[in-house]
Symmetry: D2
Subunit: 321 residues, 4 copies
């Protein structure tokens, strides 16, 4: 049989393992996404539907891969942080990278309708992925702060740009020329915004801070067990209080129970009101997660397909622990 004759080609496969005892970080980034946004009529400068679809897709990845302790998304990119001690796929770089990437890409198309309704997707998008390895908690936090600082800089610029174009009726070229002399990241952008009656800090926190996904335990009513639920937050990742209050995230410790009220770091309700945020799946199979919000005014809605999907019982086992 030909098998043995050809099988030697296996040796031509690249095989790379992530250095142990490092935080494995996978970053996904939309490929030619500006074009994709234009073709599908995304709102300028920020499209809430798109940001929420990104987060829904990222939550789908976290639901599948339990070794991911945190994800952070902004604009057309998302970052996934694995447990420092994960042994998922033997820490093989290609496997970790492609499965996160594939799952996210498939979920983006899968959940599209829930966020874009009758706006049909015209062609499948693509995301490119990269792996970072961080030996220390400081490096990891600096990475996340970097992504959030980029969001700040880009958003300030594009808010000013679109205010000039949409409110000021400037041609895009004119707006660009006026902004160009101003240093890339600058408080001058804020001054421009005020000219158009915009107070930057009043802009939705979702646009200013991006979305941080973390995993918490939630008690199931009528059930002795706790469930893992992915929660979206809009927070400042340079805030050490957040990391202290949720020390299990980087501390390789067991998950903790979600405490919406007593936790000063989780002003989820305010965040959601502010952003009018509703991160949960909007599609057919999804009764409200009443178990964590007795108060119907409470907008906190975790991502949890397992709880809300009618087909959850048929769902294959999640990868990882």
């Amino acid at each position: 049989m030909a098998k043995s004759k050809y099988e030697y080609v296996k040796n031509f496969e690249a095989e790379d393992r992530c250095l142990p005892n490092c935080w494995i970080v996978v970053n996904l980034d939309g490929k030619c996404f500006q074009r994709f946004a234009e073709m599908h009529g995304f709102e300028k400068p920020n499209d809430k539907r798109s940001l929420e679809l990104m987060s829904r897709s990222a939550a789908a990845v976290m639901e599948e891969i339990r070794e991911i302790v945190l994800a952070y998304g902004q604009s057309d990119e998302y970052t996934f942080v694995f447990r420092k001690d994960t042994t998922l796929f033997n820490r093989r770089t290609e496997k970790i990278l492609t499965i996160v990437n594939s799952l996210f890409s498939a979920a983006f198309v899968f959940y599209w309708k829930n966020f874009f309704g009758f706006t049909n997707m015209l062609y499948p998008p693509a995301f490119e992925g990269h792996v970072y390895l961080f030996p220390s908690e400081l490096n990891l936090k600096d990475y996340l702060s970097w992504r959030q600082a980029e969001l700040h800089a880009n958003n300030l610029y594009s808010s000013a740009f679109w205010a000039m174009v949409l409110k000021g009726k400037l041609a895009p070229k004119e707006a660009e020329e006026k902004l160009r002399p101003i240093a890339y990241v600058s408080h001058k952008h804020e001054i421009i915004l005020k000219d158009y009656g915009i107070v930057y800090n009043n802009e939705p926190i979702l646009f200013r801070k991006g979305t941080t996904l973390i995993r918490k335990l939630v008690p199931m009513p009528g059930d002795a067990k706790f469930h893992q639920v992915v929660f979206p937050l809009c927070i400042d990742l340079t805030n050490e209080e957040f990391w202290r209050e949720n020390s299990e995230i980087l501390g390789l410790k067991p998950l903790t129970v979600f405490k919406p009220i007593n936790n000063p770091v989780f002003p989820l309700k305010r965040q959601m009101n502010e952003t009018n945020g509703d991160f949960s799946m909007k599609g057919p199979p999804k009764p409200p997660p009443t178990e964590i919000s007795n108060n119907s005014n409470d907008k906190m809605k975790p991502f949890d397909r397992r709880m809300s999907d009618s087909n959850a019982k048929n769902k294959p086992e999640a990868m990882g622990k």
Copy 2:
């Protein structure tokens, strides 16, 4: 501004380039696909809808990335062969790997409805990807022969297994026990098939040989230009005649015009009849590619979103050349 302070983290990114003058091959493989197949009621041992959806998704990748000269798919895997001299993304491994993987995964969900109709997708699937580098044409052909030999071995086994289960009414365990003592790949499987009235060589060639996608030029009626079209073939990849007749594939030469009649290696029509194959998009936006088939009985239908999609004119530029 914080940017400069944090930007050092860029140095923690893995950066790997593919060795020049090697064939870059990306292989994608369904993750936990047996479960996915069961959950969505795939036919046993082969589900034509699934195979065609795989090929449609692979064609979407080839349409986007012009540097791919050939693709080969079987079961839940697909392999993409890049030009030996491609400089796409500076030959950076992660970029090439993740963009192929992402596009395929997104396309799989995007085109699902065209092949599975009212069978809803229950959850987004995932594909893992790997990169191979082949210094010589022989290594590359051996790789492709290996994948096709694997298909042969697996298909012979599963054809026998499912004949015993579905026709012979054996319990799966019984069938497995009867087959186990027989060497993994063996003509004894053929004997078993004959017991159930099955002549293996009469099985659809799509199931026995998998799908090979190649790119050809097709003249546009009323247009002086030729268009690149991706054609699906069911052929034996160990057949040197195929490589000789289509020497532009590995020869780094310009694309050639598709010749359906005079080309003995391209019995596309017969293949299609045999498999009752219809590889083209079945969804809404897709008038038949009349330009290549004057005869309405001709089942040859290439993948070409550019020709058939109503939105083709809005489509962003393909990557690569």
Copy 3:
């Protein structure tokens, strides 16, 4: 000119950088050294000349490459630990690995005569090298403990083996057969040693613990400046007191001044007496480093070519800082 035509081949070079913020460790290991030892009549089970030549060669590496903070040697291997934040050679793996390896190999031949005198070297030896990256201090210390634990296990075994062969007049095969049933590392080996009147803990500490090289500052008499000097120690690397007392080694802090008397962790004098150790160069150009030992009975002799070599003034600049 041909240059431009051929220069593309540069792209075929492997280029790998060490992950930042990790301890870079280079381990060198004698290739076919058992044979080399036999051919040159090394003493069994330990040859002090060879161990000292290894350490002299390692000190030559440390003298050249100031970014190395510690080295540890035993048997025919030596390990070099770089500053966690070194930027030497842009952290390029191949450069760091080969220059350490090359310098050590050349020094081994260069200093041979100083330790082996009239025993001529018959052919040049070879050392193979490997790079390890450690994200945390614990990983690094565990690595060093691992090497020292290996020495302990191997030395216990070979001490027992050679006691049986040399004192007990057993054939090597008989000795091996008696030792084989005993678990690889075991206190039973100590029992065997006692049978031959050997108290393992009375064996020279050099043989039991290997050699640790660290860098200290030493005042030059008649000179306001301090000099960097490499000191050999025979210590237990699992002893946390050592790391605490010399916290500059892993702490990325400035070098500290050598204090022979008040430092309980540096019983250098005793060590040297015990081992009858004399690690310094024995060759022609080497007046005793009187500046650190007023007492002529004091056997402490640092490695410092700069102080002792007559040609030090002509010496090219050391690599690194």
Copy 4:
């Protein structure tokens, strides 16, 4: 025992294998060699002793590692070409790189006296190493042509520079300023040389072409067996005739017998006369290899420690086949 507790650190080792079916090329390059040359009084612009010591050391590497089919050296660098199909050390990059590098460095010190006599080595030199992988014969030949073209360019420049300094009594700065405006590689250099009565093509071929080492079989007198002998040549590597006449080098074929007379490509005798070359070991243990040169005037002297060394019988087995 501590062993198991610490052994996990093995996983922090980088492990890289060379892509199969590629030519593995190791290049060694003197580190800070200009300084080393000055300190040891090398002749300008070329020092024959140094070039021959480099070649002697490279031959030592080839004698040990039979998988090397060719080596090429010029100035302070040497390149080693492995069989395309070598499986030495499982093609592990670090092993191949460091053992070649280590052996060469040790041999350089070991054979120093044979070429530099009473000029003592003041300190051990260091060489850095790099690995290249070439998928095709053309890439490999282009690499070798590149190295030889570099030699040509550098040698033309430095010949002109030193002619101006040594014969023209210009200060080095003046010479540099006169040469700088001339394009790096240029026939103008030849014009300058003629000003000082130097015809570049009459310069020793060793200086103009570097040294190519190949392996041939040589019959042993009074012995039925053939011996592998490393021969030094001064040839033009872009000359296709050389590769054709010695097609076993790249052709993965058995070694061929050395034919000094009938072989037009091997004008070894002329070469040797021209360069007054005498590449063989000059040290004590080395009777002339009479078996290949009946004529005592014949200067051809291969490198072969096995034939000439008195201790050859004790020599450990060579690595590789």
